[in-house]
């Protein structure tokens, strides 16, 4: 059985789960100290939930100062881990598996059609399908946005040029928030797809082992395929 993910990818994946978990929950606790974006005496165009705190159970750190300590400690774990991942991907060539390529728009549409039962057979894919490539490419991009905007609101005077580049403190804080929402949203979809389409990926990302015969493509798997009666195997070219 082939090793699907290099150990560096597996380790950085789980370290990232930990670091991002701390960052998001402690960040929400910090956010709750002022759950709005407007400068005092002004209004802010683009946040309809101003003044409404997120529920305590989504937060970590206990209080503002505690959450700030967690946030400013875990940020180093997140950044160093992210750099190791990106550096490895670049040097080892694995970036090719997670970078959108020509024809991905069409292939992504075919995947959508397959999931929507508008297409019978799973589109052919390599290691990841086109939707996955888009997602795995977007995650680090959002991560970079989160880190850069985070630095801009951490040091709005000493690194004032960076804060200005993002439109000033208020907007930098907003980009930071949106990047977090994006990361959380994509993580939710990712986890849903792992459990509903390819639970074998859980072993691949932990110990590395993966049986290609059980890949979603080989099983013609849609979300929760096992809850339904197994469809007849799609006709293959040999059979016709």
């Amino acid at each position: 059985m082939a090793t699907r993910h290099h150990w560096i990818v597996r380790v950085t994946h789980w370290v990232n789960v930990f670091a991002l978990g701390i960052m998001v929950t402690s960040g929400l606790r910090i956010f709750n100290a002022y759950p709005a974006f407007a400068r005092k005496g002004e209004t802010f165009c683009c946040y309809p939930f101003a003044g409404r705190a997120v529920p305590d159970w989504l937060t970590f750190g206990g209080w503002l100062a505690g959450a700030r300590h967690w946030h400013f400690a875990a940020m180093w774990v997140l950044v160093v881990n992210g750099l190791v991942y990106l550096g490895f991907n670049y040097l080892h060539g694995d970036w090719r598996d997670v970078t959108p390529r020509r024809g991905d728009l069409r292939d992504a549409w075919e995947m959508v059609k397959f999931y929507a039962f508008a297409r019978r057979d799973h589109p052919r894919q390599g290691k990841h399908n086109a939707l996955q490539r888009a997602a795995y490419f977007a995650m680090p991009v959002l991560g970079v946005v989160a880190v850069v905007s985070g630095v801009a609101i951490w040091k709005p005077v000493e690194l004032g040029w960076l804060t200005s580049l993002l439109g000033g403190y208020v907007w930098a804080r907003y980009w930071h928030f949106l990047a977090m929402i994006g990361l959380v949203g994509m993580t939710a979809v990712h986890v849903f797809m792992v459990f509903s389409v390819d639970p074998y990926a859980l072993r691949a990302i932990t110990t590395g082992g993966y049986n290609e015969e059980k890949s979603p493509e080989a099983r013609n798997a849609r979300p929760f395929w096992w809850k339904r009666a197994q469809p007849a195997a799609p006709p293959t070219s040999e059979a016709s």
Partner: protein, 237 residues
């Protein structure tokens, strides 16, 4: 009960999660606090390395002054007001590791070189507020009293209970760090620290002592009201 791999993973995952949360008080596992303290010290080094006297804050051109929306804040039960009939005339004591300690009344303070700056106020909670602050630079005070070379820290003490916050000398001597007595073109009001307060965009709001009575140059830092309760001592921006 036989335990297959799936069952084993479920049980061990649940126990690890349970152990983590059992070890948590509201602020996380206890032994993690040491790591957090280490990280705070490391971050202070990073922040000090980034610090420049040439990094200036300027409120955005289109930003509106907060005016009445500028939060008022103090730790006493009611707005601290200096009562001359009880305490005598207000003075600002500037001393510690200096050649010529002085006691300035408000007149003397306002006769020192004056600057006005329209800058942001960065609150630790995440909000900002714009105001124009008028006052004298702490660096002017330092020149006046002659700070001894062994002074590395400055404590700003208040008559609002026992409120005080100590700063690193470099941040205190930043050209935008003021002993402010004016706000938005008027003398400072009681809700904003009258008769004089520290104001600087280079530190978070809680480091900017209001209701100021003493500026003390020191060889060692002596914490502060919020720093002692768990907020970062450095609190730089």
């Amino acid at each position: 009960m036989t335990m297959n791999r799936r069952r084993f993973l479920q049980v061990s995952g649940a126990s690890i999660t349970a152990a983590f949360f059992a070890a948590c008080d509201s602020q996380g596992p206890e032994h993690a606090q040491r790591i957090l303290t280490m990280a705070e010290h490391a971050n202070e080094h990073v922040e000090r390395a980034l610090f420049r006297h040439t990094s200036m804050d300027r409120a955005a051109a289109g930003a509106r002054a907060a005016g009445a929306a500028f939060p008022q804040y103090y730790v006493s039960d009611s707005v601290p007001v200096w009562d001359e009939t009880v305490r005598g005339p207000w003075t600002l004591e500037v001393g510690g590791l200096v050649e010529r300690p002085v006691r300035l009344d408000l007149d003397a303070l306002t006769r020192l070189p004056r600057v006005s700056q329209r800058v942001n106020h960065f609150c630790v909670e995440g909000w900002t507020a714009v105001a124009e602050w008028t006052g004298t630079r702490v660096s002017e005070l330092a020149k006046l009293v002659g700070v001894k070379p062994e002074a590395q820290y400055v404590d700003f003490a208040s008559f609002d209970d026992d409120y005080h916050e100590s700063w690193d000398l470099a941040s205190a001597l930043h050209p935008q760090t003021l002993i402010a007595y004016g706000m938005d073109g008027r003398m400072l009001g009681p809700g904003h620290g009258a008769p004089a307060r520290v104001h600087s965009p280079v530190k978070l709001g809680y480091k900017n002592t209001k209701y100021l009575v003493r500026v003390q140059f020191m060889a060692q830092r002596n914490g502060g009201y919020w720093s002692d309760q768990g907020y970062e001592w450095y609190g730089g921006t």
